[in-house]
């Protein structure tokens, strides 16, 4: 087994025992179960889960990413004095924190769904929810780790993480909406699709909404989006964008980690 996987294995168990992972699991488990229990159909459960996935999951992920690295500083020091490469340690830590988060999110939704829900007609929508949620966890955990590697001051790293979360979940939409209102006399579909790609939260939201009937309410713009995501090119581009959103913070964080003094 490579050093990366060895480190990942022990970090996995370490992270799995934290409250954070339990909170993610409990939140999605109870939310999904309760929604089903009160007789909501699959579509309504999905819409409710959508907002928690898009707002709450990124917040928890980015904060944990930051916390984790700061708390591990002296452990990182100890590990780096072993005969291992820095990239092996970074990769091991990344895998070791990403895996329990993804597992608790997926299981939290999946378990109640298997009991109460039905795949018929909703496999695509739930599949999309899992992909979007997983992508957001990867993206925001990587961003959190990256901030903590760059900012040696705990408060600075934490502030940057919160600001980014706020920018991507709240401010970005407001700005896009404002611009869309100002330029409403122009054809905006293309710029809006472009704007969506610059924000993984928006990308996730649109991808999910299009799987549901509510997208019919979005009118002409909805139709343009639907057409776009209906093509394999559109789906590939969306997945590619999410992948880029994961790789860039991982790469930048690793680059800094490799050269930083501890």
């Amino acid at each position: 087994m490579s050093n990366t996987l060895k480190i990942a294995k022990y970090q996995f168990f370490n992270v799995l025992r934290t409250r954070w992972v339990f909170v993610v699991f409990a939140l999605f488990f109870f939310l999904t179960a309760v929604l089903f229990y009160f007789g909501e159909n699959e579509a309504k459960v999905l819409v409710s889960l959508l907002n928690v996935t898009l707002i709450f999951l990124p917040l928890l992920s980015v904060l944990f990413g930051v916390f984790y690295v700061y708390n591990a500083t002296s452990f990182i020091e100890l590990m780096l004095t072993q005969p291992i490469y820095r990239s092996e340690l970074y990769g091991g830590m990344w895998l070791g924190i990403v895996a329990p988060f993804v597992a608790s999110f997926v299981l939290g939704v999946l378990l109640p769904f298997l009991v109460f829900g039905s795949w018929a007609g909703y496999a695509g929508a739930f599949g999309t929810l899992f992909i979007v949620g997983t992508a957001l966890i990867l993206i925001f955990l990587s961003l959190g780790m990256m901030f903590a590697i760059f900012a040696e001051e705990r408060t600075v790293g934490m502030s940057l993480a919160l600001l980014l979360w706020l920018a991507l979940t709240v401010v970005y939409d407001a700005v896009v909406l404002y611009l869309a209102t100002v330029f409403r006399d122009y054809p905006l579909e293309q710029p809006l699709i472009a704007a969506m790609f610059l924000n993984p939260v928006d990308l996730g939201r649109v991808a999910l909404l299009l799987q549901l009937d509510v997208s019919a309410l979005m009118g002409y713009t909805g139709a343009v989006f639907r057409e776009f995501f209906g093509t394999s090119l559109g789906i590939s581009l969306a997945l590619g964008a999410l992948l880029l959103w994961v790789s860039i913070p991982v790469f930048v964080g690793l680059k800094r980690f490799a050269h930083r003094d501890f």
């Binding site: 050093n3 060895k6 490469y85 003094d261």
Partner: protein, 238 residues
């Protein structure tokens, strides 16, 4: 032999190490001392690859220390403060370190027994007292039987019994031809253990001398007085 050649390091405004050239003999115990912030830990961290010096080279048995981590197989490091993953038990931490050091098959379990770490095996690392954590830390430094030990204030936080065990262990390793470098503020400890003394001041090397030579040269009775004498002579208070 470990050679530091013209090592300099700046942290922004702070000039932590200023052109340090010094060598550490194999098979001897070398103590690094100096006031807080004099660069002791930074110098050790350069050797361990934790800190990248701005200039200068470090040679380990005539090989340049570089970005390849293999050279660290020869070094056992005990940091000043050890923190382990909070939710892992002592047993899991030990297993993890052994897993990572799969190049080693023979372990030195002496400190494990002497520190009674078997009583702590199922405890989570966050439940350990500072002293127990420091014992685990010391045990891990000796576990893989390296050729060189780098110990940063090794006895701080240990109770007198554990502290004595560790000092005996250090002397035993020296008799087996190992090289030991440690930092300390405790002069009697340095007097009892060290063969050579390196004194750092404001990131500069003030002197490196064999302990006995230092005492003889200053015409004093013991290390404590010798160091006081040198500091006075170089116009430095405490």
């Amino acid at each position: 032999m470990i050679q530091f050649l013209n090592i300099s390091k700046r942290y922004g405004q702070l000039h932590a190490l200023k052109d340090i050239t010094v060598s550490i003999e194999a098979g001897r115990i070398t103590a690094i001392l100096g006031p807080n912030g004099s660069g002791k830990t930074t110098l050790l961290k350069c050797l361990l690859g934790l800190v990248h010096p701005d200039s200068g080279d470090i040679l380990l048995a005539d090989h340049r220390v570089n970005a390849h981590p293999e050279y660290r197989q020869q070094i056992g490091y005990m940091p000043q403060i050890a923190q382990f993953p909070e939710h892992l038990t002592v047993g899991e931490i030990i297993r993890m370190m052994k897993d990572i050091r799969s190049d080693v098959t023979h372990y030195d379990e002496e400190l494990f027994e002497q520190f009674h770490l078997d009583r702590e095996l199922t405890k989570k690392s966050k439940e350990l007292s500072g002293g127990t954590r420091q014992k685990l830390n010391a045990y891990l430094a000796f576990l893989f039987q390296p050729q060189i030990y780098v110990l940063d204030e090794p006895t701080v936080g240990l109770d007198p019994v554990a502290s004595l065990i560790l000092k005996k262990k250090i002397q035993k390793e020296k008799q087996q031809g190992k090289t030991i470098i440690f930092t300390s503020h405790i002069l009697p400890e340095i007097a009892a253990l060290a063969d050579d003394v390196i004194f750092l001041l404001d990131g500069k090397l003030l002197f490196k001398e064999a302990k006995q030579v230092l005492i003889d040269r200053t015409g004093t009775k013991n290390l404590e007085e010798a160091i006081a004498e040198v500091l006075q002579y170089s116009g430095v208070e405490g």
